[in-house]
């Protein structure tokens, strides 16, 4: 077969979200890959400037539906630092507990999706069934399955009642058992190993070069974890291990995620057992003093970074989000090369991509599809400013 370019996406059964890969293949082997992001570029950073800090919690929560707690915590932490609020201990513990439950649900979700990409639907069904245990806990604690809305500036909105502890421990126990089963199953089943072992190889030096984060980096033997390096919330008081793997392939990423789930269960148990008493939130004002801050958070997918600049009003002057998936894209393009068409979905899925987090550039397709124009950050910024001048802010400024 001559060299052809296969479009993968924006609507493709392997990708649940819009993104477009132009993969050049020679027969079944990939020679090159190009990536068009930003089918879901919405302009959140710009919109955030016209919403109050309180409203922005709910806006940034909806940057990504899977790691919604990541975004709110990261944002709220920054704002709290600007305001100089000391969050009560109990609030931090609950925040951390929700974060770890989210990590469990996100990793289980990933395991299932990875199974689906290699046609292993039974694994998909089982992991998603067991993920419901984590979601039940989240619903019980926060009131919603996804987009929990538990964070607020100065603490958390919902308390953990005494009766909840038993159920949390019970479900955590069940989850631990299931995670152990999946680890044993996935690392010994030949058909899985055939697809995962040695595929999507990303050596350590390349991973460093591409600044990979999270499980992708840890599977390439780079011990990086914000929870260890720069502890936030209650992580300083928790006893957990940093998981790395030196296999540098998809199997390594699978093992890292599985082990992390075990660690998360361990942490959740510690958090519940040592839950301090006291208030869950500190009183807060709606005005944020002028200043700027960078906040870091270890999302299930890697390091998430927020920059908040305040000018002393109700509204942030600038909000900048660097979501974790964004840092991992170059590594994907690197690890695609040299593998087969059949490996495309799995390699893309291996970083646990989250397209809605990453949309920074818009690529304009002309009608005939031949010409492409890249709209970069600067263009979008000026475009956004112009748009808002024409359409108005949509929010009543006080």
């Amino acid at each position: 077969m001559p060299k052809v370019t296969i479009p993968v996406g924006p609507q493709h059964p392997a990708l649940k979200e819009p993104i477009n890969f132009m993969v050049s293949v020679d027969g079944e082997t990939i020679v090159d890959a190009d990536m068009n992001l930003a089918y879901s570029h919405r302009g959140i950073e710009k919109l955030a400037e016209s919403k109050t800090y309180l409203q922005n919690i709910y806006l940034v929560e909806r940057i990504c539906g899977i790691c919604s707690h990541t975004h709110t915590t990261c944002f709220v932490q920054g704002v709290e630092e600007l305001m100089g609020i000391e969050v009560p201990e109990r609030g931090l513990y609950i925040r951390t507990l929700v974060a770890e439950l989210e990590r469990i649900h996100s990793h289980l979700l990933w395991t299932g999706v990875a199974g689906h990409e290699i046609g292993f639907d039974t694994l998909f069904m089982y992991t998603w069934r067991d993920r419901e245990l984590a979601l039940d806990l989240l619903e019980m604690i926060t009131g919603n399955r996804v987009n929990y809305g538990i964070n607020t500036i100065g603490g958390v909105r919902r308390n953990i009642k005494a009766g909840m502890k038993d159920q949390i421990l019970k479900h955590i126990g069940k989850l631990e058992e299931r995670v152990q089963y999946y680890t044993d199953m996935a690392t010994t089943e030949s058909t899985v190993l055939l697809r995962a072992e040695g595929v999507g190889h990303l050596p350590e030096n390349e991973a460093r070069k591409f600044c990979a984060v999270g499980p992708t980096a840890r599977a390439s033997n780079i011990p990086t974890d914000v929870r260890k390096e720069d502890p936030y919330a209650a992580y300083e008081e928790l006893d957990f291990e940093l998981i790395t793997s030196d296999s540098c392939d998809i199997l390594g990423r699978l093992i890292v995620r599985m082990q992390e789930m075990v660690e998360s269960c361990k942490m959740a148990r510690q958090l519940i057992e040592n839950l301090p008493s006291g208030p869950i939130r500190a009183p807060m004002s709606r005005e944020v003093p002028a200043g700027e801050v960078v906040s870091r958070y270890e999302a299930p997918r890697g390091e998430c970074l927020y920059y908040v600049k305040s000018n002393g009003t109700f509204y942030p002057e600038r909000l900048k989000v660097r979501a974790s998936t964004y840092a991992n894209w170059p590594a994907v393009v690197y690890s695609l090369k040299g593998y087969y068409i059949a490996d495309i979905p799995l390699i893309i899925a291996a970083i646990d991509p989250c397209m809605s987090c990453t949309s920074r550039v818009a690529i304009l397709d002309t009608k005939d599809g031949n010409e492409r124009k890249v709209l970069d950050m600067d263009y979008l910024r000026t475009y956004g400013i112009k748009w808002y001048k024409e359409h108005g802010r949509g929010v009543r400024r006080r």
Binding site: M1, V4, I6, P7, H12, P13, A14, E28, G115, H116, E117, I118, G119, F120, D121, T122, L123, M125, Y126, R129, E189, T191, V192, L194, R195, Y340, I341, A342, D343, I344, P345
Partner: protein, 329 residues
Amino acid sequence: MSEIVNILLAVLYLLVFPGFLFLFFYGLFCEYFDRKLYARMQNRVGPPLFQPFADFVKLLAKEDIIPEKADKGMFSIVPLFAFAGVLTAILYIPIWRTDAVLSFEGDLVVVLFLLTIPSFALFFAGWHSTNLFSQIGAVRTVTQLFGYEIPFFFACLAPALIMGTWSISGILSQTVIRPEVLILLILAFIIAVISLQAKLERVPFDAPEAETEIAGGSLVEYTGRRLAIFRLMFNIKMVICAALITALFLGGPVLFPAVPGPEFIGYLLGFVVFLLKTLFVVFLLTMMRTVFARVRIDQLLKFCYGWLIPLSIVQFLLLILVRSMGWFA
């Protein structure tokens, strides 16, 4: 007079039983059985009994789209071609007694040939859709064909070798006389079931229509009644392949030990036994679909050439040894 009866009987065989009508309903039932088992093994409820029938009727009533760039003639004729191919094959397979409706020395080869037609039809369908994904699927279909077809042929010819006849009905009537031969054919049975899974393009060997890789492969552009016919063809192909394996390796409609009784009850019992045995084969296929991940096309070929073909040759050598020692004369 008798000629007219014969013609009417032939039409009956072809259209009602064991031909089109029976295959239609049994094929749909097998899809239901497959999907329901699959769902139950995944701890779900699964589809209701009428589901495949509803899917079929719905697809018949949908809008029919032929892509502008596609080869219109080939695009529309290919499903019927494949369908006709598999329908014919049933006439040579025994269903309610040890001999089939039609049979002659060598019909096993004809059936095996008829069962490869769908793969080629799929190739043409994919290639003439001129969609990139369907063309990749089409190429993979043919690539896969070279992998599984050889072990499948070898495995199906093993009974012919030991029984000394190339007719399915003949093999079956030999089996009735000496059922203990089937023990020798266990290896061939396993090879046949595995390569049948590849032939039906189901997980773990569904690279040609991998949903998450190439969005459904050859059939990506098919809609409406053409898709319905293709889906029905797959179901019927599954039934016929299961029936073929039943006839060759499991003793077809014969119950061991045989129950004495009037002929009519014997036929009915044979038919029930046939249904149970084919469902058992379908169950094995479903089980494989449930517990495995999809393998890549190159890994499939490696598996077929590295394991299945050598094993089927071992089976052949074993049978030749047995025959030359004169244990089964």
